[in-house]
């Protein structure tokens, strides 16, 4: 029962309620703005990366002409007459990524075929997560593995293999990429409708023929985009090549030799405490910019392929 006496109390209550509502409304209005600021941090990060790389790269190209940088086959950053040609690094990056893909593309694809077409659900349930464990191993561990195990092993078969060479890290990078290609390709193949397979079986095709003529063509966009993403991953990989391929800036096709990749060069320069403002220091950013553009193009290409050429069923 509310009596006359309580009236003032009620008025107080209403006022209080309005006040707290006001506060709540303010919070309701401020929260989205605050969250938007947090969300914009990802854009700021992108701007930060591009701005950092670009401004220092421009400074570098004031000292070393752009054409010389991209056509030079000699890289001697620390010699008396330094030369800055990026081609040896590009060669190292392309070679190691190619070796990685020669390992990862067929094995990853075949593993995907097995998981999607052949394996029983029980087997898939065990093999797939275990394969993903392989993707969770830190790259530094792969570097150790390449340097202390794969290289000595390969030397049994290739006697003139150097202690640091591009072959061994290339192979190990391939092993690292297998789970990624297997998992993405498997996703693409699993989404091919069952009716298409059944149609081919009805015509008397064997399982291999169904896979080769029906499933793979239908899932091709997903498979190719998984390959492209694999290449992008290999290009950006740092620790494996830094440890196992050494720092010789070789412009050659000899995979038994040490070759430096773009990523390994960045590690070498930053680890060597290059003085801020020196040309060597700026070359770091030019190489990083090249690396960034390379991987960005690959990632965009992968998304383009998987969107543009996806077959809709």
């Amino acid at each position: 029962m509310i009596t006359i006496k309580d009236k003032s109390n009620i008025r107080e209550m209403i006022e209080q309620n309005q006040k707290s509502n006001l506060l709540r409304r303010k919070v309701e209005r401020l929260i989205p703005i605050f969250l938007m600021l947090l969300a914009s941090l990802s854009i700021i990060t992108t701007i930060g990366i591009i701005w950092t790389l670009l401004s220092e790269t421009v400074e570098f190209f004031k000292r070393v002409p752009l054409v010389d940088f991209y056509t030079g086959t000699v890289l001697k950053p620390l010699s008396q007459n330094p030369e800055f040609g990026v081609l040896p690094l590009l060669m190292g990056t392309v070679t190691s990524s190619l070796i990685a893909m020669i390992v990862a593309a067929p094995i990853g694809l075949m593993a995907a075929i097995y998981l999607s077409e052949y394996a029983s659900p029980k087997v898939r349930k065990v093999v797939k997560p275990t394969l993903e464990l392989l993707a969770g191993v830190p790259t530094i561990v792969y570097g150790f593995f390449a340097f202390t195990f794969v290289t000595p092993l390969l030397r049994e078969f290739i006697p003139n293999l150097q202690a640091t060479n591009i072959l061994s890290p290339g192979i190990v990078m391939g092993i690292m990429i297998i789970p990624m290609i297997a998992s993405l390709s498997e996703d693409a193949m699993s989404s091919v409708p069952r009716s298409m397979r059944e149609g081919a079986y009805g015509l008397g095709a064997t399982k291999l023929e169904v896979t080769r003529r029906v499933v793979i063509p239908a899932a091709l966009s997903g498979i190719i985009s998984s390959f492209v993403l694999g290449i992008s991953r290999a290009i950006g990989e740092t620790m494996i090549v830094t440890i196992a391929s050494g720092s010789t800036k070789n412009f050659s096709f000899d995979i038994t030799q040490s070759m430096q990749t773009m990523t390994a060069y960045i590690v070498e320069v930053t680890g060597g405490d290059a003085a801020t403002g020196s040309t060597v220091y700026y070359s770091l950013y030019a190489v990083a910019m090249t690396l960034f553009v390379f991987t960005l193009l690959m990632n965009l290409l992968a998304r383009f392929v998987s969107k543009k050429f996806r077959e809709e069923y």
Binding site: P32, L35, G48, G136, T206, G236, M239, T270
Partner: protein, 294 residues
């Protein structure tokens, strides 16, 4: 008119069936190849490193003598690093996910942010290292301390945390928030008391998995310039530090000079892998135990 010769047909059929069987075996071997390598890798690491793991290795300081070296500094450094990375990524990552899923109007801006996030996820980790070196270490003049390393790592794993949190929020059934609105709750109250608690297992799983990525990541820290020297144990976020992967890196490089360093590197790898294994198992347990929302 050509008639099929039955004999020829039978022979051709045999070839088809044989290649079918053969390919099945090859596909299976490829699928198990990865597991085989994983087994070899683990065997190598354990057999090389297990002998060096003992109490004094785990609790000791770095030393120039391999037989006296310990990794307590690297363990503490990793912990300190996580003390920066975990709150920063959780706060920013979950905040971004809430904004994108709950507040932002679907349109150009959201799809731009979304594309941007997936592009950031593809940027090589070493590029983040250069960003950290330029912005945190040099421009903000923090030096190569825990805070600079932690912020760099946070930027690196932020895309993973955002995407995982978004998926967790998206998987909350509509009727839960509808019921909350029906009771007169405001949007923020609904997010705070209904959506976030139900999305928490998914968010935590993603956060733990991305933290384990940060624990194993080396390249950005190499670029920032973690010293190989003997440094005192870190005691705050403004101290210089080293982490487990960095120690593995330096010891692997030293292994070509002194063979015992390979054992130390392997022993550190064991510690690192055990840590990652525990973290990932926790994530899986959380996902399985609390993952189902009705």
């Amino acid at each position: 008119m050509n008639h099929l010769s039955q004999q020829q047909h039978m022979r051709w059929m045999k070839v088809r069936l044989f290649t079918n069987q053969l390919s099945k075996v090859i596909f299976m071997l490829s699928a198990f190849f990865g597991l085989f390598v994983l087994a070899v890798l683990l065997y190598r690491v354990v057999s090389e490193g297990i002998g060096s793991i003992n109490f004094s290795f785990l609790t000791g300081k770095l030393s120039t003598q391999p037989e006296r070296a310990g990794i307590m500094g690297a363990i503490l450094g990793t912990l300190w690093l996580m003390l920066v990375v975990a709150p920063v990524t959780m706060f920013v990552g979950v905040g971004t996910a809430i904004y994108l899923e709950m507040y932002a109007k679907k349109g150009r801006l959201v799809s731009f942010i979304q594309t941007n996030i997936s592009n950031l996820a593809g940027v090589p980790s070493i590029v983040y290292g250069i960003l950290g070196l330029t912005v945190f270490v040099r421009t903000l003049n923090l030096g190569n301390v825990v805070l600079a390393g932690g912020l760099t790592m946070s930027l690196l794993i932020l895309p993973i945390v955002i995407v995982a949190s978004q998926e967790a929020i998206r998987s909350i059934p509509f009727h839960l928030s509808e019921a909350s609105y029906g009771l007169g709750a405001t949007k923020w109250q609904t997010i705070q008391r209904v959506i976030l608690p139900s999305a928490l297992p998914g968010i935590l799983t993603g956060a733990i998995l991305s933290l384990s990525r940060a624990i194993g990541e080396t390249a950005p820290l190499v670029v920032i310039g973690i010293p190989a020297l003997l440094i005192p144990f870190p005691g705050s976020i403004m101290d210089r530090f080293t982490v487990l992967p960095m120690q593995i890196y330096y010891w692997t490089l030293d292994a070509s000079l002194v063979a015992e360093y390979a054992n130390l590197a392997a022993a550190t790898i064991i510690v690192l892998l055990v840590t990652l294994f525990i973290l990932n198992s926790t994530a899986i347990i959380i996902r399985n135990k609390f993952g189902k929302v009705e």
